[in-house]
């Protein structure tokens, strides 16, 4: 019995210890990135270029999914609110769920799969083709020249994308609620404004998206930098970026929500 279980048990233990190792290495990597960020701000164009690739090029997917998520939320909310004769509250349901939760979380997931995976693949391939080593030979720090700009670009892009996602979602809810179903325009906006608090809802959503931005940026750059220099290694690292980012975003969201709700009344 024990004999048959030995190998799976050993593998489980190995994976667990490997995970602990990776957390430690990732923390060291994180401080190293922060320490070598000086160049990113001296030559801000490096960061701008990465913001273009990870932020601007993600705009279409963010804007379109935001619009559709808002429209679906509007339809679903209408279905239920109709029973209680409270269809004017569509705006409240759509805006609160977008600003508090869906905006940061869904745009975080999209950002991880659209931009995070690309960052990992790029850095991983640069490592595989020994471009990073070559840079090091030329006394150009790959940390400062390659990793840090991508890291900061992720942190800059993510809150902006989440805000765009939420705004587009509210617009989608408006399209379904007011234009399609015919809820009163004034009641739609005034109930929404009465329910959404600037400090408590909007700022907390922005804080969430900043945290998710940091998480995705660290994970995607680290996985790329740490990828085994083979085709298979890069492909695995890319997969791991998406999976780890998604899990970390959801876990962080739970923790942040618990903290933020406690702060309320």
């Amino acid at each position: 019995m024990i004999g048959r279980l030995r190998i799976p048990l050993a593998r489980l233990g190995h994976n667990f210890i490997e995970g602990i190792w990776r957390i430690g290495v990732m923390a060291r990597f994180f401080t190293l990135v922060i320490a070598s960020s000086g160049t990113s701000f001296e030559r801000f164009r490096l960061v701008m270029r990465e913001v273009y690739y990870s932020g601007v090029l993600s705009l279409i997917i963010i804007v379109v999914s935001g619009l559709f998520v808002g429209m679906v939320l509007g339809l679903q909310a209408f279905q239920t609110l109709q029973i209680y004769g409270a269809t004017e509250s569509i705006g409240v349901v759509v805006s609160l769920s977008l600003v508090r939760e869906l905006g940061p979380v869904v745009s975080g997931l999209l950002f991880a799969s659209r931009a995070g995976s690309a960052i990992t693949a790029e850095i991983g391939l640069m490592k595989t083709t020994e471009q990073l080593t070559a840079m090091d030979m030329m006394a150009v720090s790959p940390m400062a020249r390659v990793i840090a700009p991508r890291f900061w670009a992720g942190i800059i892009s993510m809150p902006l994308l989440a805000a765009l996602f939420s705004a587009m979602g509210v617009f989608g809810g408006y399209l379904v609620g007011v234009v399609l179903i015919g809820v009163d325009n004034g009641a739609f906006w005034s109930q929404m404004q009465a329910a959404v608090d600037w400090r408590y809802d909007v700022v907390n959503g922005v804080v969430k998206s900043c945290v998710f931005g940091i998480a995705v940026a660290v994970i995607s750059t680290f996985e790329g930098y740490d990828a085994p220099p083979t085709a298979e290694g890069v492909s695995r690292a890319t997969t791991r970026t998406v999976v780890t980012s998604a899990l970390v975003i959801l876990a962080l969201d739970l923790m942040l929500t618990a903290f933020m709700l406690r702060g309320g009344d």
Binding site: A163, L164, Q193, D197, V202, V206
Partner: protein, 156 residues
């Protein structure tokens, strides 16, 4: 400095992001509506505040005139002590009545102010003397049922 297309894209992206934030703050949220107004604080004691919350509305004649600033339990009088932040633009007589009301059967709880006839206005730090507690629906229903049950035998 030479211009590159990437500058334009970066600028447009950041501008769009901040525009979205602005929309969320002003159109979706309540920033700009009640931020600029100055308030004065008035206290009121209630036997029961029902479902009243901090930041809940204070209305007079149905118009929003302030917000609930603080709620705490007065351990000496065993009453709830509620601090109201009332908009400086509105002055109320000293003998104003404060009552805890509910908008609709299941709606939010708010404080309703009803002006009295005193010529002196409420000043900051004053206490509203005449208050009316929340109506607890369960109590009302149980009283009604109890009353009905007592009536029943008399009919026979």
């Amino acid at each position: 400095m030479e211009r590159k297309t990437i500058d334009l894209w970066f600028g447009a992206f950041v501008a769009a992001g901040f525009a979205a934030l602005l929309v969320l703050a002003l159109k979706v949220g309540n920033l700009g509506q009640e931020r600029a107004t100055q308030t004065y604080l008035v206290e009121a004691r209630f036997d029961n505040i029902g479902g009243l919350k901090v930041r809940g509305p204070v209305r007079s004649a149905g118009v929003l005139v302030g917000r609930v600033n603080e709620i705490h339990f007065d351990n000496e009088r065993f009453q709830a002590s509620v601090t109201l932040a009332i908009d400086k633009r509105y002055a109320f007589p000293k003998d104003t009545t404060a009552s805890i009301l509910t908008s609709g059967l299941l709606g939010e709880t708010y404080i309703g102010l009803e002006a009295g006839g005193d010529s002196k206005p409420l000043a900051a730090g004053d206490r509203i003397q005449i208050t009316q507690s929340a109506v607890v629906l369960e109590k009302l229903i149980s009283q009604l049922l109890f009353g009905k049950a007592q009536e029943e035998p008399a009919k026979k």
